[in-house]
Subunit: 368 residues, 2 copies
DNA sequence: TTGTAAGCGTTATCAA
DNA sequence: TTGATAACGCTTACAA
C-alpha cells in the first residue's frame, strides 16, 4: 500500500489513452471500444488503481452516500481504550444466572439497521456519525459535507445546526414530534399505541391505579407515550396523574435501579399497573420486582414499548407495543431518496402504524 | 436546500478575506485574528456554508473516514421495497408464545458496533458497505476510494480485489484464518475455546458420543472450531468423527430445520452431546429438540459458540464460548489506526482470548 | 496575521 | 470512439 498511489494520469499514460477514456472505462464502459477497454483493464490491474472518491465527488457533485446521525447511545465518551495487548489464555468459568444488560440501545441499533438496508438496496453507501463531546458540531458538519442527504434521529442534531445543514442538503427526521413543516419526517404512532395498550389494561383486565414510568425528561417519544397514557385514562374517566411516576433512562440497568428506589420508598402501594416508556426499562423493573418477590402480573401488571426480542424472551413475556424499528429507518431513507429526486415538493410527515402485542405480563389472556 | 450551494469563494468575498483565511477559520482558528474570525463566522452562518468533504479529501489527501466491509447477512438482495403508503390504524393482538428469529446475524451486528465505537472514539467517521449482487466489485472499490483505511470481515471481499485495494490503503482482516502475512489480522481463539469446552464435556460431565454441528461449509470460523473439537477428542483418546454431523447456516431457523431432519432420520441415537458452531444454530436445535420432547441436558447436552444474549435467555441457558465480538471490531480499528500511523511495520496478527461460559445446557454444574 | 497560487484526481463538455 | 480542457472546492506551502 501507499508509496505512490496511481491516478487516472498514470493509467492513461501506460494504456496509451487519454484520462477521459479511463474515466469512461469506469463510468460508461459501453462507450469505449473493446480493445481499448482490455488495455485499460490490464493497466488498472497492474497498477492497482482505484478511483479517488473525493475527486469523483468533487467533480460529479454527488457522492453516492447518505449520512445517518444518531444520539450517543453507548456512552462513547467514557469508553476505555481497547486492550491491544497479547491474548490471555482461554478462561473457563461457571456463569451464574444473573441478569445482564448489553448496555446498547436495541431500538437505535434496529433503526440503524433499517437505514443501512434501504440504502444498500439502492446501491448507496451509508456513513454514520454519532455527535458527541465538544466536537459534536465538527462531526456533524464533516458528515454533512460528505453526503448527498442526511437522515437523523430527532434531537441528535441541535436545531440551529440542523437548519444550517439543511440549506446544503435534504434532511429527513426520524421519531420525535413533527416540530415544523421544514423537514420530511417519519415517526411511529406513539400516542395511538399507548392509548390502545392502556385501554386494554383498563377495560379488558379491569386494572386500576395505573402509573407511567417515563424515559429521559427530554425524550419526545416518551412524552408522546405519556400523553397517550393520560388520554386513555381520561377517556375512561379515571384519575389522570399529572406526572410520570418516575423517569428512567431507557436502559435495563436504569429500570432496575428505578424499581429498587420505588420499592424502597413504597411508592408501588396501590399501583395496579406500570406502563413503561420502553421495553428495556420495563425489563429492568421486572428484574427488580421479581428479585423483591413482587409477582408480575399477579401483584402488578407491567408493559413496555418497542417490541425488542428480549421482551419476548422475558418471563413472564412482556406485553408491549411493537413499533416497526427497521421500517422507521427504511422509510426515512426511502423518503430521502424521493426528496433527492423531487427537491421541490412539500415536506412529508409519515406516521408508521404500531401493534399492541398482548402477552403475559399484563395478566392472563382475557378470553375476549 | 439546493439552489446554489455556497463555497469558500462566496464566504471569502462576503467576509472580505481570502479563501485561505476561510479555510484557516475551520482548520486552525487560532491562526486567525479574532475580529476576522467573527466576520467569517457571521458570513458562514448567513450563507449556510458547509465545507465540501470531497474537496477537502481531495486537497488534504485524507478523508477522516474508515471503511468497514461485511458479507451480506440479511439477504439484502431479496428485501421487499418498504411501504411508503399511509399508516394503518393501530393493531391489538394476542401474541402467541412462539419462538422468533429476527433473522439478523447477531454476531456481525456486534462486530459492526465495535468498529463504530472505536472509530467514533477517535473522531473518525465510519462508512459501511455490504458487497452484494453483481455490483459487489463496484461497491467495494467505491468504498475503498473514499476512506483512509479498510477493516473487513474475512471472505467479505474476494482475495484478488482485496489485494488490489490493499495497494492503495491499509487493510485489516477480522476473523477467519490468518491466511498470509500480507495483512494485519484479528481473530478470536476459536480452536482454543472449542478445545476447552469439549474437554469440559468429556472430563467433567463424562459425556461420550460427541458430535459437531457446523456452520456453512466455507466458514473458516466453523472450520477452526471443528478442528478444536476434533483435537480435544483426540487428546482424550476418543473416536474422532471425520466430518461434522451436519451443516447449518448460522441462523436459528436453520438450526431448527436441521434438528428436525436429524430427529427424523434418527441420527441422534447414541449422541451424548452436540457441540454447535455458533449460538444461533444451537438455539434452533434447542427449539426443535424441546418441541420433540427430547430433554436438554438430560437426554442430550448442547453447547454453542459466540455468547449472544439469547443464549443466556434460553431455557435451559446455553453453555457457550463467549468471544469478544465488540472487541473484535474495536481491536481491528485500533490496529488500523496504528497502521495508518506506522505504515512501514510488519503485519500483526492478534488472537483475542475467549471465555467458556458453563451454564445448564451441558448438564448440572459439577461441584469441581 | 493574511494573501497568492499551485495543486489534488476526477467528471463533463465540446470538438475532432 | 476518443482527446483537450475547463471546472469542481478545498488545503497548503510560500510570500508578504
Amino acid at each position: 500500500m501507499a508509496g505512490k498511489v496511481p491516478t487516472v494520469y498514470d493509467v492513461a499514460e501506460r494504456a496509451g489513452v487519454s484520462i477521459a477514456t479511463v474515466s469512461r472505462y469506469f463510468r460508461n464502459p459501453e462507450a469505449v471500444r473493446e480493445t481499448t477497454r482490455d488495455r485499460v483493464r490490464a493497466v488498472v490491474r497492474d497498477l492497482g488503481y482505484v478511483p479517488s472518491g473525493s475527486a469523483r465527488g468533487l467533480a460529479a457533485r454527488r457522492t453516492g452516500t447518505i449520512g445517518v446521525c444518531f444520539p450517543s447511545f453507548d456512552d462513547v465518551d467514557h469508553i476505555d481504550p481497547v486492550d491491544l495487548g497479547e491474548g490471555l489464555p482461554v478462561t473457563v468459568r461457571f456463569d451464574p444466572s444473573e441478569h445482564i444488560d448489553t448496555g446498547s440501545n436495541l431500538y437505535i441499533s434496529e433503526v440503524i439497521r433499517g437505514t443501512e438496508l434501504e440504502a444498500w438496496r439502492h446501491g448507496l453507501a451509508v456513513m454514520i456519525a454519532v455527535p458527541r463531546g465538544r466536537r459534536r458540531h465538527e462531526v456533524i458538519d464533516n458528515l454533512a459535507g460528505r453526503v448527498d442527504g442526511l437522515v437523523t434521529l430527532a434531537r441528535a442534531v441541535p436545531d440551529d445546526q440542523l437548519a444550517h445543514i439543511a440549506r446544503r442538503l435534504p434532511v429527513v427526521l426520524m421519531a420525535g414530534p413533527r416540530e415544523s413543516d421544514t423537514y420530511d419526517h417519519v415517526s411511529a404512532d406513539n400516542r395511538g399505541g399507548t392509548i390502545a395498550l392502556t385501554r386494554h389494561l383498563i377495560h379488558d383486565h379491569h386494572l386500576r391505579g395505573l402509573q407511567f414510568v417515563a424515559g429521559p425528561m427530554n425524550s419526545p417519544d416518551s412524552q408522546d407515550r405519556f400523553e397517550g397514557f393520560s388520554e386513555a385514562l381520561l377517556l375512561a374517566g379515571l384519575d389522570v396523574p399529572e406526572h410520570p411516576l418516575a423517569h428512567g433512562d431507557f436502559t435495563r440497568t436504569g429500570g432496575r435501579a428505578l424499581a429498587r428506589r420505588l420499592l424502597e420508598r413504597e411508592q408501588l402501594t396501590g399501583v395496579g399497573a406500570l406502563v413503561c416508556a420502553n421495553d428495556q426499562t420495563a425489563l429492568g423493573l421486572l428484574d427488580a420486582l421479581t428479585e423483591a418477590g413482587v409477582r408480575v402480573p399477579e401483584d402488578i401488571a407491567l408493559t413496555g414499548f418497542d417490541g425488542i426480542e428480549a421482551a419476548h424472551l422475558a418471563s413472564p413475556r412482556l406485553t408491549t407495543v411493537r413499533q416497526p424499528m427497521i421500517d422507521l429507518g427504511r422509510v426515512a431513507v426511502a423518503q430521502l431518496l424521493h426528496r433527492l429526486a423531487h427537491p421541490a415538493t412539500a415536506p412529508v410527515s409519515r406516521v408508521l402504524p404500531v401493534e399492541v402485542l398482548l402477552r403475559e405480563s399484563c395478566g392472563p389472556h382475557p378470553s375476549t
